[in-house]
């Protein structure tokens, strides 16, 4: 009740100086907006990465270790044997050729922009958890001189959807590009490659024995179980030759790195909010000096020291809370905009909102405690300083 009255008086005082009040809570608002936005964007990112991480775990990468000295690469028949396992949704094998690919014969052969040529067998998009961006996939057992480009390879060659189908110069012959894949976050090797069918590679004289790499897409949650039985399934005689890789530990490391950067940024923001608190303290101290006669008047009319102190404390709280609420809205809008641009799920960091508002209350109380104490100590005889 008493607090409410004090807050009302404080509110009236602040409204009487709208610009000054607005500016001093703007500092708090910016600080809190930064906290909410940073935490929100970080969590949105983390969630996005985790989603990708879970998707990655559903794709296994199988390669030959060569430990038992057997034949080089994973045997071709592994595509059939592994493909028959119940939780396996798709398999594909890829083998790198020593071919180059350029837009035309006029480009020097050395200038390949780092694009490799892979001979592929099986459904590569399905097995690497990606899709065709545009055009047509390679047919089953494609023996024709056609190729599908990985997402980055198409970019590097300067081929976009309007140009399809078009020709590229590959190992001294023209090959028709029929499609381009979406990014395959698991298989960077696919992203930077031109894919041709195994039969075509063989008929063109590439010496192929085993598969360089086999990609296995499994049902969600069965990655570990399947990876345990793949070696014996792919190469029953020398299972030790087969290595299976699950999730990418690099992704987890990336999340950790990003979060530690957030920590640094939050520390900076905290300093900013403290500085904003000084702004509030300054505003209130100036108000106390300016309003000495009015404070004396209130004391002459019966206000206690506590009444006056409470009035200035609630003034500080109003500035800080107003700033915190405005900042929360601003920060949340920032997160929304980011999530929309990055087409990720929106996550409002409620603990960030709570922390921001809690910090604002603390800053408000701390910032107004000195002015409040000063105001409360003014004598009632200050009413006599009032000039008409």
């Amino acid at each position: 009740m008493r607090l409410l009255e004090a807050a009302k008086r404080a509110g009236a005082d602040l409204r009487a100086r709208p610009v000054r009040s607005l500016m001093s809570s703007l500092g708090i608002a910016i600080g809190v907006a930064a906290v909410v936005a940073v935490l929100g964007v970080a969590q949105t990112n983390t969630q996005g990465l985790l989603n990708r991480l879970y998707a990655l775990q559903d794709v296994l990468t199988v390669q030959s270790t060569g430990l038992a000295g057997g034949p080089s690469g994973v045997p071709l028949y592994a595509l059939a044997t592994v493909g028959r396992l119940a939780p396996v949704e798709a398999v594909a094998g890829v083998t790198q050729l020593d071919w180059t690919v350029t837009r035309s014969p006029l480009v020097p052969a050395g200038d390949t922009a780092g694009i490799s040529v892979l001979a592929v067998e099986g459904d590569v998009p399905a097995a690497t958890a990606t899709q065709l961006l545009v055009g047509r996939e390679l047919g089953p057992g494609d023996g024709l001189p056609v190729a599908v480009l990985g997402y980055q390879a198409a970019r590097l060659l300067g081929i976009d959807r309007q140009l399809l189908p078009c020709r590229v110069w590959m190992d001294n012959r023209w090959v028709v590009v029929t499609g381009v894949l979406r990014p395959a976050p698991l298989a960077a090797v696919i992203d930077y490659s031109a894919l041709v069918g195994y039969p075509f590679a063989q008929s063109a004289g590439a010496g192929l024995s085993g598969l360089g790499t086999m990609f296995v897409k499994v049902q969600p949650g069965s990655a570990t179980a399947v990876s345990d039985i793949i070696p014996a399934t792919a190469e029953p005689l020398t299972p030790v030759n087969v290595a299976v890789q699950e999730a990418s530990s690099a992704v987890a490391a990336e999340i950790a790195a990003r979060n530690s950067l957030d920590g640094l940024f939050l520390a900076l923001v905290t300093v900013g909010v403290l500085v904003a608190g000084l702004g509030v303290a300054n505003t209130l101290t100036v108000a106390v000096v300016e309003q000495r006669p009015e404070i004396g008047l209130a004391r002459a009319l019966g206000a206690t020291r506590a009444d006056i102190g409470l009035q200035f404390l609630s003034g500080g709280l109003i500035l800080a809370l107003g700033g915190a609420l405005g900042g929360t809205v601003l920060g949340a809008l920032g997160v929304l905009a980011y999530a929309w641009l990055a087409s990720q799920l929106v996550i409002i960091p409620w603990e960030g909102v709570g922390a921001g508002i809690g910090a604002a209350v603390l800053v408000g109380v701390l910032a107004s405690s000195y002015p409040a104490a000063k105001a409360a100590s003014l004598p009632p005889s200050d009413v006599l300083r009032m000039v008409p």
């Binding site: 009015e294 209130a298 009319l301 206000a303 000039v387 008409p388």
Partner: protein
Amino acid sequence: MTAVPALELEKIGMEFGRTVRVRALSEVSLSIAPGEVCALTGPTGSGKSTLLAIMGTLERPSAGRVRVEGVDVATARDRTLARLRAQRIGFVFQTFQLHPRLSALGNVEQGLAYSAVSPSERRERAVAALADVGLADRAEHLPTQLSGGEQQRVAIARALAKEPSILLADEPTGNLDQAAAEMVVDLLLEGAGRQRALVLVTHNDALAGRLPRVVRLERGRLVADGSNAAA
């Protein structure tokens, strides 16, 4: 009859300043009964305002003892003095001392803001007090939109709305023309009496002559305290 005096001052002394001492009051003793009406006169600088501030607990004297309705000001807690000012003492100042950002009604309401009066009753009493001084139609006006006489009437309404037992007025007509001054004095004298004491500071002898008791200060000392046959 041993009624507690409204105001009781014993050998009040007051000095201002730490390095350069200014002695504003010396050994002033004075007692004012409940409902008593009294003029306080003296030349400028004689200590009238200082004495009034001490009576109203705005200042603590540097020597002597003050009792307001039996409460010893020297030993009372801040809250006790604040309650006295909120409920028992009404001030009227020479330069009005209205809150510049509050309307006439808001100023009168502020006079009740620190006593145990509900907001709705506060409003009711403020409206009535403003009507009593003839300013019902100026309730929403700010002090700057009122004449000096009107501002002083708002200040009187503010002082009377709390129905104080002591009314302290420091040269309330000092800044007013003749007509406005008369209206203000009439309102103060109407408000006083019965159970309400009034101490009215003035250097206007004609005005002082209208009151039943006149106390005179000179250079901080009480030089005369007599009843007025004419009143």
